[in-house]
Structure formats: structure tokens, C-alpha cells
Subunit: 244 residues, 2 copies
């Protein structure tokens, strides 16, 4: 079987670990319980208990937290190949909500499925924990961006990071990528107002760096954008840990 024939998750993990046929089989079996969710309706709501985890196979999801005053902070976006709710399984309660941005397909993974898979193939367990650590590193980088970058750099960094992530599952390149997010999503993710997001996007467009329009991100000057963002993809480029 070629890598392309598999799910985005397998494609992602394969970029870092050469998986054996047996491991590929276990991974395939994790994808058995297929489910779909419609855009806009929360799949998991913050405070909900005893949740399953999911592997996203198509579509986009965002994980977010709502505050008492109604403002929303998007913590992360999930794209095909990403795990979703891994932490909610370990803590018994989910501390944030998940909302599908478009209609999505996902494989439901019960706690027992996951533990069984880990018991069968420790190398796979390590690979998945590696992916989880990489997600955590992205949240940290997100934190740094919101705390210490101005709006332009923040936006530029965000669009670049998303591009790198999508490239890993074959959904983007240094030319650009399809992106179903609205300016409201960007605002809630970057800690800005929707109005300001619009202005920032205009400025980046008029500087011939990127265009965000009609569900498509187009890079016009990738290098220039990297400079604006001070984008260093080191935290995404980790090679596999403990795996020879």
C-alpha cells in the first residue's frame, strides 16, 4: 500500500516514522467507527464529560473557549489527520468546545480502542504522543504570537503555520491553500476584532504578500511574509523522538 492510499493521519505520521505493515493495520482499524458532523453545531461542549476522541479525516474543526462575557478565544484549528479531544479522554471532562467549521468526517476512537492500540504497538503510541506534543508546541507558539506579536506579524505567522501544516497532509504548498475560515474565525483565533482583521488582511494584500479571499489563501511573496512573521518552522519540523 502506498502512503497516499491511507488517511491523512497516516500520511502525517509517515513523514516522521517509517510505519510497518502491522502498525499501518492497527491505525487503519482505529478508523473503523466513521461518523459525520454538520458545520456549526458543536460536537463537544465545554464541561461535557466522558467524551470519546476523534481522528479528523476530512474538513476543518476549531477548538475554542467561551468566556462569561461572551467573547470567544479559538485555541486551535484541526485539519485532516489531526487528533481531537485526546486530552478530554485523559481528564474526564472536556475543558473546551469543538465546532466543525464545515461538514466533516471523523473516526470515533474510544478510550479502550486507543489503549488496545497502544498496547499492541508501542512505537505507534510514541508516534501519537509525538503528534500530541507537536500540537502542544503549536499552542505555545500561538500563545507567544498573541502575547508578543503585533497584528500584522500575528496574521502572517498564522497563515504560514497553517500552510505548513496543510502541506504535511498534501493540502497546500508555498503557492497557497484552500481555507474555509471566515474573518471572524481569524479574529477569534488571533485575539483581534473582526474589523481589524479585515484591515490587516487588506494591508498584507496591498503589500503583495498574501491574499485571503473567497476561501483561498494565496502567497504572493512567501519569503517576504516569513520576514514579517519572523516565522521559524523549527517547532513543526521535529524529527521523530526515541524512534530509530
Amino acid at each position: 500500500m502506498t502512503v497516499e492510499a491511507h488517511s491523512p493521519l497516516i500520511r502525517k505520521l509517515s513523514a516522521f516514522v517509517a510505519l510497518s505493515e502491522a502498525e499501518l493495520g492497527v491505525l487503519d482499524r482505529l478508523h473503523r467507527r466513521r461518523r459525520t458532523f454538520v458545520a456549526g453545531r458543536d460536537m463537544v461542549h465545554q464541561g461535557q464529560s466522558d467524551q470519546a476522541a476523534y481522528i479528523l479525516s476530512s474538513g476543518w474543526v476549531c477548538s475554542y473557549k467561551i468566556q462569561a462575557d461572551g467573547t470567544r478565544q479559538i485555541v486551535d484549528f484541526q485539519i485532516p489527520g489531526d487528533f481531537l479531544g485526546l486530552r478530554s479522554v485523559l481528564l474526564r471532562t472536556s475543558d473546551h468546545s469543538f465546532e466543525p467549521i464545515v461538514n466533516i468526517e471523523a473516526a470515533e476512537v474510544l478510550t479502550s480502542d486507543l489503549l488496545d492500540a497502544f498496547a499492541q504497538t508501542p512505537r505507534l503510541a510514541t508516534a501519537i504522543l509525538w503528534a500530541a506534543s507537536r500540537d502542544e508546541a503549536m499552542v505555545v507558539e500561538h500563545l507567544v504570537g498573541i502575547g508578543r506579536r503585533d497584528a500584522d506579524a500575528r496574521m502572517a505567522h498564522f497563515l504560514l503555520e497553517l500552510g505548513s501544516r496543510l502541506a504535511l497532509v498534501g493540502m497546500g504548498s508555498k503557492k497557497g491553500y484552500d481555507c474555509p475560515l471566515t474573518q471572524y474565525h481569524l479574529a477569534d483565533a488571533l485575539g483581534l476584532s473582526a474589523v481589524h482583521v479585515n484591515r490587516v488582511l487588506r494591508q498584507l494584500r496591498e503589500s503583495d504578500l498574501v491574499t485571503f479571499r473567497d476561501g483561498r489563501v494565496t502567497f504572493h511573496d512567501y519569503g517576504g511574509l516569513v520576514d514579517v512573521a519572523e516565522f521559524d518552522p523549527a517547532y513543526l519540523d521535529q524529527t521523530g523522538p526515541l524512534l530509530k
Copy 2:
């Protein structure tokens, strides 16, 4: 042996799981390799490879990331009982730096020690992963704070969260706690300028909510502060997962 006779880590884990004598023994053995570090000099520098992890037994540490333009974002503070660098072990390279804020004592934990301990007592492994998930939840809450809270609420929330964490290891109460941080630390953690931190602290003090002075945080009106911060400690109060 009573809980008080043990390390802060044991004290923390004991608040959520009743540990057996055998598990306590394994934990004690993880504390064998004692080391000290002096204030101000990085124990781990971002980009450094093949790092050990540490269990902090006394003193305070901060983990941070420096950007190209020299600005610093503190991601988290570690207090006694906290793990440090657990992720750096899994990813081969550390993506951020650790700096002791005061002279500290820590137990060095080699990757092999950790894996051995996990193999011996799966319940302990779960407990430690639970603690790691809790740390991640705090980073997420931190992200929300920087993205969507104004400076006053951010500061109030931060001081309250720290208080709750310290209370768990017996170093603080709703009256207050000792705190070796400078206003610069607060600024770098909260994504503010040091000047503004000073003003915010003054305002909170003049509203008779908290005083931050001479290495001591004193709560004057705990309830009032909770209101300002919209502090909901749910994400800290998880009861243990998968452990009956």
C-alpha cells in the same frame, strides 16, 4: 509515612489519587538524582537537544520563548511539585528555555528512569499524564487570558491561578502567598509592558483587592478578585481520570 513527609509532587498527586505504598516508593526513587541550579542562569536553552526532565522540589522556574526582536514571552511558571521538560524528552529538542527565578533544587529524571517507572506502575503513569494534561489546560487558559481579557482581569486571573496551584502543595491560601516574581516577570507572562503592570497592580491595590509587594501576594477581597477575573477554577479542579 504521611503525605507531608514526601515531596511536593507526591503531595500534589495525592490530592487526586490515593497512591499505594509501592507507588510512593517508585515516586521516591525518581527523586534520587538531586541537583541544584542558581537563579538567573538557564537550565535548558531553547534549541538544546537530548535533555533530561526534572521534578522541581524547591524554588520557582519559568519557561519562556525569546523572539528574534528580543521580546520574551513567559509560557508558564513551575512551582514545587511541577514537572519540567517532559515534552522536551518526547520531542528530541526543547522548543523553549527554562530559567530558575531563585536558586532551586530539582530531581533529574532520565528518560529511562521515567519509562521504567511507567512500566512498573501504570496507575502512576496515568497520574503523571493527568498532571501533564492539567499543565496543558493551564497553558490554554493562559492563551485565553492574553487573547480575550483586559489587563486588570488578566492580572487578577493570574494571581488567583497561582494561588490555587500553590495551595495544592501547601504554599498558599486564600489569604495570600510568598512570590519571588518581579514586575518584569509578570509583564513577560501577561503580554504587557512592565510599566503597565505597575499601573495595574496599583489599581488593584487601591481597589482593596490584592497587594503585590515585597515578595508577597496578599488577597484583601478574594471574592471581589474572582469577580474581576471571572475566575472559574474548574480546569484546575479535575478529579483523577480513569482511576477508580
